[in-house]
């Protein structure tokens, strides 16, 4: 019950502050907690945190991932979550232990700006350490995922924290405010001179 009150109080504080995009960020964080997808592939792969095991390859055709619903994981949007595991895998290493959720040669605003997209040579995204994911396919197949870090990130967000650095609305609001403050300071300095 105490946690419930804390969330309500924190909601009121945050909503009344300059963070007009607070609700948007919380909604996105909530949508990150679980994902489901349909695609093509072969075999069975299970991932817990940064470790993967199984034999198989798969890629998503459409699904619900990172608060984005249906039709997002297509070539037109230039996003790929091609996955392959051969016996054991760790992080997104090269070779057949590879897993990536990345953009190709174009930026994809949503995944990229929300800090959810990465290429093979980028650092492993923090949120993926918290996942439990099962991926099974026999030509057609799918995946389900639950992410503990995303759950933590969702609750932490009510208290003004963003452990996974994915509150993009808040981030840009801070940048814009900082830029305005800097310009005002510069203008005052010029005036006083």
């Amino acid at each position: 019950m105490k946690i419930f009150y804390l969330i309500i109080i924190s909601l009121l504080i945050n909503c009344s502050s300059v963070q007009k995009n607070f609700a948007g960020d919380r909604g996105n964080d909530f949508g990150d907690i679980a994902s489901i997808s349909y695609g093509v592939g072969f075999g069975l792969q299970i991932s817990v945190s940064s470790l993967s095991t199984g034999i198989g390859i798969s890629a998503t055709a459409f699904g619900y991932k990172h608060s984005n619903f249906l039709g997002t994981l297509t070539r037109d949007n230039c996003v790929s979550d091609a996955t392959g595991t051969f016996l054991f895998g760790y992080k997104n290493n090269g070779g057949l232990h590879h897993e990536e959720f990345g953009v190709c040669d174009q930026y994809i605003d949503y995944y990229f700006l929300r800090n959810k997209a990465y290429a093979a040579d980028d650092p492993f995204k923090k949120n993926l350490y918290g996942r439990i994911k099962i991926n099974a396919a026999l030509i057609a197949g799918g995946s389900i995922e639950f992410n503990f870090y995303e759950l933590f990130d969702f609750f932490a967000g009510f208290f003004g924290y963003d452990p996974l650095d994915d509150d993009w609305n808040k981030y840009y609001e801070i940048i814009i405010q900082a830029e305005k403050a800097k310009r005002n300071t510069d203008a005052q300095t010029i005036k006083s001179k």
Binding site: G102, D105, Q106, Y107, D109, N115, D122, I139, Y172
Partner: protein, 302 residues
């Protein structure tokens, strides 16, 4: 007791198989380089999809002789190859992934029309398998040699298909895209309100231009030019990429406008407004002498 060949080996040693293998090799070695069109692309796919499952089944049967039934091996190899082939042709990203991890290069090209070859070739394979399962071919010295040659040629044809091609300088011609982070689509502003533009790019541009087009008649209503020297680059530490920020008070009539940001490399580039509009609309200006964002809808009201 006279030995008989496996069904896959019978097919591989047949004139049809030799014809297909020679077509595959000639196509990859000569015709592709000379013509490089739809037909040469399909010849490789069809010949490969027919010959390669027979080749793998024959090899598998030799290795596992007596342990696994040939029919099981044949179904398994056909399904595996058909799946792999479908995955690499489904999208370029999957194709890149498979090529990098399996062949160590990124020279594959995904083509969804190739998926049509899969059912056709599966049916052809089934037909050839059935046809040669009823044929009794006794092993002679000639057949043995033919069999060995066929297996070697199939392997050669496959290796040749996966060999990296010389890298083109195509990538050098691509400029980095511009990604507009703010304002977002369907944002509303008061007329004369200050708008902050935030965009990411790793390209080297001489100038950025911000365009506002009307919704109804696609007229250019406002254009803002900013020299890159007037802007400061900032690092987004979350994603380790650089972005620019520019703020301006925008005065426009009530209504909806389409916004786009263009990065210009040099002054030689010139396009009239309708050409520019079409380019942005089709979002094709990343490989010319400029880069652009896609259109964003913005509303302005009193």
């Amino acid at each position: 007791m006279q030995q008989t060949l496996s069904n896959s080996s019978k097919f591989l040693s047949s004139p049809i198989s030799f014809l297909l293998i020679f077509l595959w090799i000639a196509n990859d070695h000569i015709w592709k380089a000379q013509f490089h069109n739809e037909i040469t692309g399909k010849i490789s796919d069809i010949t490969g999809l027919i010959v390669f499952p027979f080749f793998l089944t024959a090899i598998g049967f030799i290795i596992n002789y007596g342990t696994l039934k040939e029919k099981t091996l044949f179904v398994f190899t056909n399904l595996t190859i058909a799946t792999l082939f479908s995955v690499i042709n489904w999208s370029q990203e999957w194709n890149n992934w498979i090529y990098i991890n399996c062949f160590g290069n990124q020279n594959g090209t995904a083509d969804k029309t190739d998926l049509l070859c899969v059912p056709i070739c599966l049916l052809a394979n089934l037909y050839f398998y059935k046809k040669y399962s009823t044929k009794e071919i006794t092993v002679s010295a000639k057949i043995k040699y033919l069999h060995i040659i066929a297996i070697n040629l199939s392997a050669l044809a496959f290796i040749n298909t996966s060999t990296p091609e010389p890298k083109s300088n195509y990538e050098e011609e691509i400029f980095y895209p511009i990604l507009l982070a703010r304002p977002e689509s369907r944002d509303f502003f008061k007329i004369g309100e200050e708008i902050s533009f935030i965009w990411y790019t790793e390209g080297k541009f001489k100038e950025f231009q911000i365009y506002f087009y009307t919704q109804e008649n696609k007229n250019l209503e406002k254009k803002i030019s900013i020299k890159t020297t007037q802007l400061q680059k900032h690092l987004d530490t979350r994603i380790n990429k650089y972005f620019y920020i520019y703020s301006s008070k925008i005065t426009l009539q009530n209504g909806y406008y389409r916004l786009a940001i263009i990065g210009i490399v040099d002054n030689e580039w010139e396009k009239n407004n309708s050409e520019l509009y079409s380019l942005i609309e089709e979002h094709r200006c990343n490989i010319l002498k400029l880069s652009c964002t896609e259109f964003r809808w913005l509303g302005f009201e009193e």
